[in-house]
C-alpha cells in the first residue's frame, strides 16, 4: 500500500531539498569555520589560540560555565521537585515564570541587570557605596549567564518527573527512608539522564552566550572578555584568522555537545527497548 505523498518523484524532491538546505545552511558554515581558522597554516592558528588575550577569554568562559552549571543544577532540581511533587497556590504561575529567560531577548536581560546592579542602578548604588562592583566584572557575566541558562535543567526534568509520578518516593517513605536518602537513592537514579542532558544544554548555552554578556561585560581585553566577545572584537579588528580560530573552538565545543547529546539519546532509546 502506498502512503499519501509517497510518489517517487515527490520523495526525491523532498530528500534533495532537505539535503541541500542542510548542506548550505548547516554543514558549509561549519566547514568554513575550520577552513578559515587554518587558512594561514597551523602555526598561525596556534599562535592565535595561545595569544594572551585569547587564553584569558578561554579561561573566563570556562570559569563562568563551571560556576553556572552547579547553580542551574541545584536550582533546576529544586524547582522541578517543587512543581511536580507539591500542590500549592501559584504553582502554575511559577511554572510560567521559569520560561521567562527563554521568552526574553538576552540583550534585554543584560540591560535589566545593568539597570538594577549598575553603578547608578537601583540596587547598584547601594552596592557601590559598599565597594561592590558586579557590572563590567565577572560576577555580572556570571549573573546574566545564570539568568539565561537557568530554565534548561528544570525544563528537562519537569515533564519526566510529572510522568514518573511520586509513587516510588511514597513507597520509599513508607519504608522509613529519610528525605535525603529518598532523593539520593530513588529520585536521582530515575532522573539522572535527563539531568545530564540538561547540564549539557546549560553548558552549551553558558559557553556560547553573547547578547546578555556583551551588555554587562564591558569587554575589557584580558579581563572581562569571554570567548564569543573576544571573537567579535577580533573580527572588528580585521583579524579574520584570529576570529575564526576562536570560532573553531566554540564550534568544537558545540560538536562535542552534540555528540554527548546524541549518545545520551541513543542510550535512552536502548534502555526503553530493554524495559
Amino acid at each position: 500500500m502506498q502512503r499519501i505523498g509517497d510518489a517517487p518523484a515527490v520523495r526525491r524532491l523532498l530528500i534533495t531539498a532537505a539535503v541541500l538546505l542542510a548542506a548550505l545552511f548547516l554543514l558549509l558554515p561549519l566547514v568554513a569555520i575550520f577552513a578559515q581558522a587554518f587558512a594561514r597554516g597551523v602555526d598561525v592558528f596556534w599562535a592565535n589560540i595561545t595569544n594572551t588575550y585569547t587564553l584569558a577569554a578561554i579561561q573566563l568562559t570556562l570559569v563562568i560555565a563551571v560556576l553556572t552549571i552547579p547553580v542551574c543544577l541545584v536550582f533546576g532540581v529544586a524547582l522541578a521537585w517543587l512543581v511536580t511533587r507539591f500542590r500549592f497556590p501559584g504553582r502554575r504561575i511559577l511554572q510560567t515564570l521559569i520560561d521567562i529567560p527563554f521568552a526574553v531577548s538576552p540583550v534585554v536581560a543584560g540591560l535589566v541587570y545593568l539597570l538594577l546592579y549598575g553603578r547608578t542602578g537601583w540596587l547598584g548604588s547601594w552596592l557601590d557605596g559598599h565597594d561592590i562592583q558586579l557590572m563590567f566584572a565577572w560576577p555580572g557575566i556570571l549573573m546574566v549567564t545564570i539568568f539565561v541558562t537557568c530554565p534548561f535543567v528544570a525544563r528537562e526534568l519537569i515533564p519526566l518527573m510529572q510522568a514518573q509520578g511520586s509513587r516510588e518516593e511514597e513507597a520509599a517513605v513508607t519504608l522509613g527512608a529519610p528525605g535525603w536518602t529518598i532523593f539520593r537513592r530513588v529520585t536521582l537514579p530515575n532522573i539522572r539522564w535527563a539531568l545530564l542532558y540538561g547540564v549539557i544544554l546549560t553548558n552549551a548555552r553558558a559557553v556560547g552566550e553573547f547578547g546578555a554578556v556583551s551588555v554587562v561585560s564591558g569587554a575589557i581585553r584580558g579581563q572581562t572578555n569571554t570567548l564569543p566577545l573576544h571573537l567579535e572584537q577580533l573580527y572588528q579588528d580585521y583579524n579574520t584568522v584570529g576570529a575564526f580560530a576562536s570560532a573553531s573552538l566554540l564550534a568544537l565545543i558545540a560538536l562535542l555537545t552534540l555528540v554527548a547529546k546524541a549518545s545520551l539519546e541513543w542510550r535512552a532509546a536502548r534502555r526503553e527497548d530493554h524495559a
Binding site: 509513587r167 516510588e168 517513605v173 513508607t174 522509613g176 527512608a177 537514579p189
Partner: protein, 365 residues
C-alpha cells in the same frame, strides 16, 4: 496490632472527601474497604498510612494498639504499604527492592549485610521469587511485581499492612490466585491488614470484615455473611451484587405492575421491591401468589449456574435470574421462551436514608 480511628475526616479544598469516621480493627484481622470510586476508601487508607493528613479536628485520633500515631510521620508509623501499581524502584533489582527498607535504617539499628541478605532471601522464598532476585521490575509480570512489592512491604515486619487496590491492575486469573495466596499469608503471619478494593467479590471472599463506603461515609461494617444477608441499606444491597427491581402499587395485599401480580403482606401504596438473581425462580405455570409472565432474551450457561435474562412489558429494565443447570435442562430454556417468574424472596428499603438531604424520610425499621 489493632487499628483504631476516631473522628477522622478529610477535606480537599472545599469538597469533603471523607466525613469524620470511627473504625476499629482488631489485631490480626483482615479487613476490606469496599466502595465505588470517589467513596473515600483510598483517602482513608492513605490517612491511616500517614501519606495524607486528616483534617485537624479536636477529637481526631489514630491509634495502632496503644500507640497514638495521629501526628506521627509516615516513616515512623511502622506500616507496610502496597501500591496499586506496585511502585517498585525501577532502577533496582528485585533483591535491592526488598532490601531497601533494611538498608535505609539508621546505622545503629541496621542489620549486618549478611543478615539483610538472608532475610531478603527468606522473603523472596515466601513470595516464591528466589530465582528472580537479580531481575529488574520491568522484566517481571504484573503478578510477580505485586509479590515483590508485598515482600518489600513485609521486610520491616510492620505492625499493620495496608494495601491499595492490590490486585486491581491484574487479570482475572492472576487476581484469584494472588487473593488466595494473600489470605494464606495473612493466616500464617497474622499481621493486621486493611485493603482497598472496588470489587465486591474480592472484598467478600478475602475479608474477615468488610467496610462498605460511599460518598465519604461508612455505610456498614460487618462480616461478609451478614453484609450479604442483612444489608443495612439500599446502597449496600445494590453494591454487593446484581439487583432486579419491581415497582408497582399495593392494594389489598396484592402488588400490581402492568399485567404482573404478586401477593405481598404490605400496606396499600406505591412500593419498590428488590430481588437478587438467585431469588427469582422460573416455572412453566403461574403460582397462586405470583403471576408474572416473562420472556427469555438471553442465556449464559457458563459457570456453576445458568444466567438468564428476562424481559416483559411490565418491566422497565430486564431481570436477571440464576438457575441450576438441572432446572435449565428441565425447562428446556431457549431464547424467546415464555415463562413465569416466581419470586422466592424479596427485599425492601422503605426507610431509605436518601443521599439528597432535602428529602425527608420516614423511620420504619
Amino acid at each position: 496490632m489493632s487499628i483504631r480511628l476516631h473522628a477522622i475526616g478529610k477535606h480537599f479544598g472545599k469538597t469533603q472527601a471523607l466525613e469524620p469516621v470511627d473504625l476499629d480493627i482488631a489485631e490480626g484481622e483482615l479487613v476490606g474497604l469496599l466502595g465505588p470510586s470517589g467513596s473515600g476508601k483510598t483517602t482513608l487508607l492513605r490517612i491511616i498510612a500517614g501519606l495524607e493528613t486528616a483534617d485537624r479536628e479536636p477529637g481526631g485520633r489514630i491509634l495502632f494498639g496503644e500507640r497514638d500515631v495521629t501526628h506521627l510521620h509516615v516513616r515512623d508509623r511502622r506500616i507496610g504499604f502496597v501500591f496499586q501499581h506496585y511502585a517498585l524502584f525501577r532502577h533496582m533489582t528485585v533483591f535491592d527492592n526488598v532490601a531497601f527498607g533494611l538498608t535505609v535504617m539508621p546505622r545503629k539499628q541496621r542489620p549486618s549485610s549478611g543478615e539483610i541478605r538472608s532475610r531478603v532471601h527468606r522473603l523472596l522464598e515466601m513470595v516464591k521469587l528466589e530465582h528472580m532476585a537479580q531481575r529488574y521490575p520491568a522484566q517481571l509480570s504484573g503478578g510477580q511485581q505485586q509479590r515483590v512489592s508485598l515482600a518489600r512491604a513485609l521486610a520491616l515486619r510492620p505492625d499493620v499492612l495496608l494495601l491499595d487496590e492490590p490486585f486491581g491492575a491484574l487479570d482475572a486469573k492472576v487476581r484469584q490466585e494472588l487473593r488466595r495466596w494473600l489470605r494464606h499469608l495473612h493466616d500464617e503471619l497474622n499481621f493486621t491488614s486493611l485493603f482497598v478494593t472496588h470489587d465486591q467479590e474480592e472484598a467478600l471472599e478475602l475479608s474477615d470484615r468488610v467496610v462498605v463506603m460511599s460518598d465519604g461515609r461508612i455505610e456498614q461494617i460487618d462480616t461478609p455473611d451478614v453484609l450479604y444477608r442483612r444489608p443495612a441499606n439500599r446502597f449496600v444491597f445494590e453494591f454487593l451484587g446484581d439487583v432486579n427491581h419491581l415497582e408497582g402499587s399495593v392494594r389489598n395485599g396484592v402488588l400490581t405492575c402492568g399485567d404482573a401480580r404478586l401477593a405481598v403482606d404490605l400496606a396499600d401504596g406505591p412500593e419498590e421491591l428488590l430481588l437478587r438473581p438467585h431469588e427469582v425462580e422460573l416455572a412453566e405455570k403461574p403460582a397462586a401468589h405470583a403471576h408474572m409472565p416473562v420472556t427469555v432474551t438471553a442465556i449464559s450457561p457458563v459457570g456453576a449456574e445458568v444466567r438468564v435474562e428476562l424481559a416483559a412489558d411490565w418491566l422497565g429494565e430486564p431481570w436477571l435470574a440464576t438457575i441450576r443447570h438441572a432446572d435449565y435442562e428441565r425447562l428446556a430454556l431457549a431464547r424467546g421462551v415464555r415463562l413465569y417468574a416466581l419470586p422466592r424472596h424479596w427485599h425492601r428499603f422503605p426507610a431509605e436514608r436518601d443521599h439528597q438531604p432535602s428529602k425527608t424520610v420516614a423511620t420504619t425499621s
